[in-house]
Symmetry: C2
Subunit: 249 residues, 2 copies
C-alpha cells in the first residue's frame, strides 16, 4: 500500500493510496493515535471513491465516531482503467437507459462480474489497512455500500469474517440471495419504496434472505436517488452501536 | 380537565388527570415555562396509560426533547370501567389465545369499536391540553401508538389536523387502509419481520396505504414483542425533527 497524497480539513485527514492496480482513499481523525474501528465504503455504479454520497458519510463517520473510513474505486471506475468488459457494461447500461428500462435486472450480470473482481481487492486492502498501526488487526470493521456497493458488499461480507456490521440497500436480485443467507452480522438495509429501478418485492426478498439475528429494513418513500438525509444519522448510530464509538456525537 | 395527583422525579413532572370518564397522564419538563410541543401516546391492547413501554418513551421524549407527553387509558382499559362490549372483547381474545391463533385478524373488530369510542375522547383531551398555558393552541402535536395504539391512532390522525407527525406500527388490517390513505403527515412505521400476530404482507400493505410524502418503514427481525430498544431513539429523533426539539440530546 502506497500513500500518494494527503490533505487535511475540519479534523479529517484524507489520504490517497494505491494497492497494486487499485486506487483508494483513507479518511482518519486528525487527532488520536489509539487504534480505532474501520468502515469500508463501496460507491454506486458509475460513481467513484470520492462521490458526494461517499465523501459526506465518510467525513461524518470520522468526525462523529472517530472511525477510519476507506473507499475504493470499483473495477473500471474512478481513476482505474476500463477493460473491454467494463466498456461492454457501460454500453449495456446506456442502451437500457436510452430505452427507459428499469436498471435493476440489467445490473445483475454487471455486479456479478464486478464482485468477482472487487472482493479479492477489498480483502487485500483490508489486510493492508489492518497492518497500519492506527487501525490494527484486532479492531472491528464495518461495511457501507448501497446499489452497486451492495452488489459487491454482500458477496464480500459473506466471505469476510472481519466485517462485523454492514449497511446495504437499494438493490435486490436473486443472485445475491445465497450470499445473503451466509451473513449473520447485524444489517441495516435501505429500500426506496418507490424505486424506479429496483422492484420492491426483490428488495424485500433480499432483506428477508439475510440470516442475521439483528437486521433492520429502512424503507423510505421516494425514488432511487431520494434516500433521505436522516439515514446518514441512522447509519452513523448503527456503526457506533456495533463497532464502538470513539468520539462523542 | 381535573388534575388529581402530581409527582416529580429526574426532571419530569407526572400529573394524573381526568376528563369526564377518561383517565390520563401528562408528563412535562420540570423546568421551562415556554409552550412546548405535545406528543400523544396510545398504549397497546390489555395495557394501560402507564405501561412500561409508554412510561419509558414518555420520559425520554420529555427529557430529550423538552416535550409534553399525554397518555390515556383506552376505553375499558387501565383505571376505566369495562362495559359489556369490553368484557366481550376480552373473552374473544382469550379464546383466540387459548387456541393459539394469531391475534391480528381477531383484533380488527375490537379496534374498530375502541377507535369509535376513543377518537372523540382524544380530540376532547387535545382541546383541554391545548388550553393549558404550558402547551398552548399553536404548538405542534405528535402521535405515538403501536399495535392497538395504531388501531386507534390511524383513524384519529386521519380526522385530526392538529397531529403533525405520527409513529405507528405492529399492526396491519384492511379496515385501516381507508383512514391511512387520508393521512399525509410524516410517518414512522414499525414492523416486526417475524411477528407471530401480524401478517407481514398486511403490515406492508398498511405502510403502503399512507399518503404521506415522508414515510419510513422500520422493519426489524424478531417477534411481536421484540421491538428493538434503538427504535426508542429513532422515534425521539423523528419527533425532534418534525415537532422541533426544545432541549438538547
Amino acid at each position: 500500500m502506497h500513500f500518494t497524497a494527503e490533505t487535511s480539513s475540519n479534523g479529517v485527514v484524507e489520504r490517497n493510496f494505491t494497492l497494486g492496480d487499485v486506487t483508494g482513499l483513507l479518511w482518519s481523525p486528525a487527532s488520536g493515535s489509539e487504534p480505532a474501528p474501520l468502515v469500508l465504503m463501496a460507491h454506486g455504479g458509475g460513481q467513484h471513491k470520492r462521490a458526494p454520497g461517499i465523501l459526506g458519510r465518510a467525513q461524518r463517520f470520522v468526525t462523529a465516531c472517530g472511525f477510519h473510513v476507506a473507499s475504493l474505486d470499483a473495477p473500471g471506475h474512478g481513476d482505474r482503467p476500463r477493460t473491454a468488459a467494463d466498456e461492454q457494461h457501460i454500453a449495456v447500461l446506456r442502451q437500457a437507459q436510452a430505452a427507459g428500462e428499469p436498471l435493476g435486472p440489467v445490473v445483475v450480470e454487471i455486479h456479478k462480474d464486478l464482485a468477482a473482481r472487487a472482493v479479492p481487492e477489498w480483502r487485500a486492502t483490508l489486510d493492508a489497512l489492518q497492518a497500519l498501526p492506527e487501525i490494527g488487526a484486532d479492531g472491528p470493521v464495518g461495511f457501507w455500500g448501497i446499489m452497486q456497493g451492495t452488489g459487491i458488499g454482500v458477496p464480500l461480507t459473506a466471505v469476510e469474517p472481519r466485517i462485523a456490521a454492514a449497511v446495504f440497500g437499494c438493490l435486490g436480485h436473486e443472485s445475491l440471495t445465497e450470499a445473503a443467507a451466509q451473513i449473520t452480522v447485524p444489517i441495516e438495509f435501505l429500500l426506496q419504496w418507490d424505486d424506479e429501478h429496483v422492484e420492491r418485492q426483490s428488495g424485500l426478498a433480499l432483506f428477508d434472505a439475510f440470516a442475521s439475528k439483528e437486521k433492520s429494513l429502512h424503507a423510505n418513500a421516494g425514488g432511487h436517488v431520494d434516500v433521505p438525509r436522516f439515514e446518514v444519522d441512522s447509519a452513523t448510530r448503527f456503526f457506533a452501536r456495533h463497532l464502538g464509538q470513539v468520539g462523542s456525537f
